[in-house]
């Protein structure tokens, strides 16, 4: 799954996702990616977020919406991402998932849930600091 947030120099923001979902899913099963507020959410006046992982669980907690609303309330992107992950972790401690967040000033963050085999989450950033995309990672 890819989740993406784009923010231009005028403050316009968009978010999107695309996925082929879980392997061996029951036919008709839809994950979190196309669900607004779960797979991704963007409000140019507050921020944007996009999530990835076990969509059957994650969609129930609307992590992207929660992260954007936390940024609207003043949280920095890293803190907003971490809160969205811990909200799910409270109920599903072993869930597989991660989230990226960006606020209206172009600050960004990411967070993930540490489970065996998944201790670090990688994501890409392009901004004026470096014309070519830069690989970033966070420890889960």
């Amino acid at each position: 799954t890819i989740g993406m947030i784009a923010l231009d120099q005028h403050g316009h923001m968009a978010a999107g996702t695309s996925t082929n979902g879980l392997t061996h899913k029951v036919p008709g099963r839809v994950g979190d990616s196309p669900i607004v507020g779960a797979g991704a959410y963007a409000d140019s006046s507050a921020g944007g977020a996009a999530a990835t992982g076990d969509g059957d669980v994650m969609m129930r907690f609307l992590p992207s919406y929660l992260a954007v609303e936390l940024m609207r309330a003043g949280a920095d992107p890293m803190a907003a991402c971490k809160s969205a992950i811990s909200r799910i972790k409270r109920h599903y401690s072993e869930f597989f998932g991660a989230i990226i967040c960006a606020n209206t000033t172009g600050h960004y963050g990411a967070a993930c849930n540490k489970v065996s085999g998944f201790t670090q989450f990688q994501f890409m950033v392009s901004n004026a600091d470096s014309d070519a995309p830069v690989l970033k990672s966070v420890d889960c």
């Binding site: 968009a14 996702t17 036919p27 990616s33 196309p34 409000d43 991660a98 392009s126």
Partner: protein, 180 residues
């Protein structure tokens, strides 16, 4: 320190970030940037979890999910369980631009896409076929069934509901190679 403009995307999908960044650098819109960036992953089948030829379901078919959201207007277009159309995020954008709806799903979403000019084609590849046939040979393990008979942790379907429901600890199948 931060600086605008900004593109950020999940996973190390560098080409997707490049495609989106190029759009912004040539004064394209953020919607165009997100659409082009995600479409790049659909075309390149990023790590097998995006686009055609990945994640076959229990019947061996690849289906796609996508959404796009305009943060200025809060408009959204989304498709889910999309079949036979490769450019899922392009169809999501068409939902946003050519309907008053937010989300179209399944076979009807595919018919909408064809009406809007998207090409219908088989999303199966040798790779997805192979994933599916290996799975069948391995008694359909893992799967997402529970409280059914025959026992879904031992065998393939068809399954019928089991009389007694047992609250089972949720199996953890999502991982680096199979996720949303």
């Amino acid at each position: 320190r931060s600086s605008l403009p900004l593109v950020i995307n999940t996973w190390p999908f560098k080409n997707a970030a490049s495609s989106a960044w190029s759009v912004l650098q040539s004064s394209g819109s953020v919607l165009d940037a997100v659409e082009k960036g995600c479409a790049r992953c659909e075309t390149e089948q990023c790590d097998g979890s995006v686009g055609y030829g990945g994640s076959p379901d229990e019947s061996g078919e690849t289906t796609l999910d996508a959404m796009i959201m305009n943060g200025d207007t809060m408009e959204v277009g989304a498709v889910a369980d999309l079949r036979r159309i490769k450019n899922a995020i392009g169809v999501a954008r068409a939902v946003m631009e050519y309907t008053d709806h937010t989300l179209l799903v399944g076979e009807s979403a595919s018919l909408f896409a064809e009406n809007m000019g998207f090409i219908a084609e088989d999303l199966t590849t040798n790779k997805s076929l192979n994933i599916f046939s290996q799975w069948l040979k391995g008694n359909c393990q893992p799967n997402y069934r529970k409280n059914v008979s025959p026992d879904s942790s031992q065998s393939c379907g068809p399954y019928r509901p089991k009389g007694t429901l047992r609250r089972s600890r949720r199996a953890q199948h999502a991982n680096l190679h199979s996720h949303d």
